[in-house]
């Protein structure tokens, strides 16, 4: 196995946002390579994807009166696709069995009037969410040995804490009309053509369809500006294009990455 790995967004996310199971696996996997490289594109995807959900939920907790209402917003937004799993997990979230308020005795509650259990629960949830988000964001460039493939058009703006307690993660995309990656990408027409062909081996889903469209656009109309939305649609193809030949792509999403990586003579690995 190669001693160098390019880290994709799924591994970055697990390493930063999950303290148990997959998080441990991701962090352990990172230590197994001598060199680990994180492309800035993964940071961009992380901020615009998983982290954004957490920021949204944190802000929901800040602005709703009850923890239950904030959790209910997850259901209302249809964030999860699995209906059965959704109801069980949402109920467990509503119950928030581990919260610190469960250890409050009646004597203690009498000593600190005005702090009902619901408020304690909401306040605690807000604090751990804020902690989780800000710790993840500030560690993003520290999980690998190197951060590579800088994107000159992407402002990797810091998260802001507003005076009203909400978090501001904007901007999550690039403000330019034409992505800085277009030029280097169109200089590799063979690689683009191989990736386009490899899309046929990817699972048929909207994401694949959009990726195929943008790859085709780069091949057929290379001078056409590559918008921020187009850049995001390329997704996993970017990791294949940015991965050095002596490295593997470390991902939890082998199904989507493998056909693209193989098309360019690369291989993928997943955390054990």
């Amino acid at each position: 196995m190669s001693d160098k790995a390019l880290i994709d967004t799924s591994v970055l996310t697990d390493a930063l946002l999950k303290q148990r199971s997959e998080g441990t696996a991701a962090r352990d996997a990172l230590t197994k390579f001598k060199q680990t490289e994180l492309p800035v594109y993964a940071i961009k995807e992380f901020k615009a994807g998983p982290l954004r959900y957490y920021v949204w939920f944190h802000n929901k907790v800040v602005t709703t009166n009850r923890w239950e209402d904030a959790v209910d917003a997850i259901r209302k937004l249809g964030v999860t696709p699995q209906r059965n799993r959704q109801s069980t997990a949402l109920q467990a979230l509503v119950d928030f069995e581990s919260h610190i308020g469960r250890s409050i005795t009646s004597a203690l509650a009498a000593k600190y009037p005005g702090s009902d259990v619901n408020e304690v629960k909401r306040s605690e949830a807000r604090l751990w969410l804020k902690t989780l988000i800000l710790r993840a964001w500030r560690k993003r460039r520290k999980v690998t040995t190197r951060v590579v493939s800088q994107l000159s058009c992407y402002p990797e703006a810091e998260l802001k804490i507003n005076s009203n307690g909400t978090l501001d993660d904007r901007p999550v995309g690039c403000p330019v009309q034409d992505c800085c990656m277009r030029e280097p990408l169109i200089r590799r027409p063979d690689a683009l053509a191989s990736l386009l062909k490899a899309c046929d081996r990817l699972p048929e889903k909207p994401e694949t369809h959009k990726r195929r469209q943008v790859l085709r656009q780069l091949v057929r109309t290379p001078k056409r500006p590559l918008s921020d939305a187009d850049c995001r649609k390329l997704g996993d193809a970017i990791f294949a294009l940015q991965c050095p030949q002596d490295a593997v792509i470390l991902t939890t999403n082998v199904v989507d990455h493998e056909p693209l990586a193989n098309a360019l003579g690369l291989s993928v690995a997943r955390p054990a």
Partner: protein, 190 residues
Amino acid sequence: MVETSQLAVANVIDLNERRGTYVPPTRNIEVEVRSYGIEDVRIARRDVQIEDLYAGDTPTAQLINRARQLLAEAEDFSVNAQRMLSEGDGVGADNEITLLQANLPELFFCRSLSEGLGAVTVALHHALTNRNGSPLTSDQIFAVRTACQKLHSNPFAPFTDALDLIDGLADAGLVTDPPEAELLSDFFVR
């Protein structure tokens, strides 16, 4: 409002000490006393404890004093636990940590003093609860002790300082997130 400062300058008029102000997070405060109405300026130095600056009968002062009391106890519990563990008294060490853990809900009621205090208290609560009864290692007790010491010396810790302390707990192998964080990641991380 002064948040962090090594030097507090107080203009004391008629030498009537003003209380109820925000306290800089230092144990020793250099106080410059300027007298008005006379020509000379005298510089006076004395050691001032945080508790000295607050009248004990205001709700904020009571909260500060209680928080510092709880944090002092937490520090003692963790120091004792370290000592007991080094002496081979695993049961004693674990009991000290359990006593520390039992004080955390009350400490959480003092969270209005600073977000940092609230965040570390929550992290400590989950770090200790997530052990499911297993005793802490020496490194973990050290991380807990460091967190308690820092908060005791500065209960007004800003959030960024709290993140450092929580990193210390996590680096020692403690899981500072509640189990519900895993459920949330099932929704938000695909």
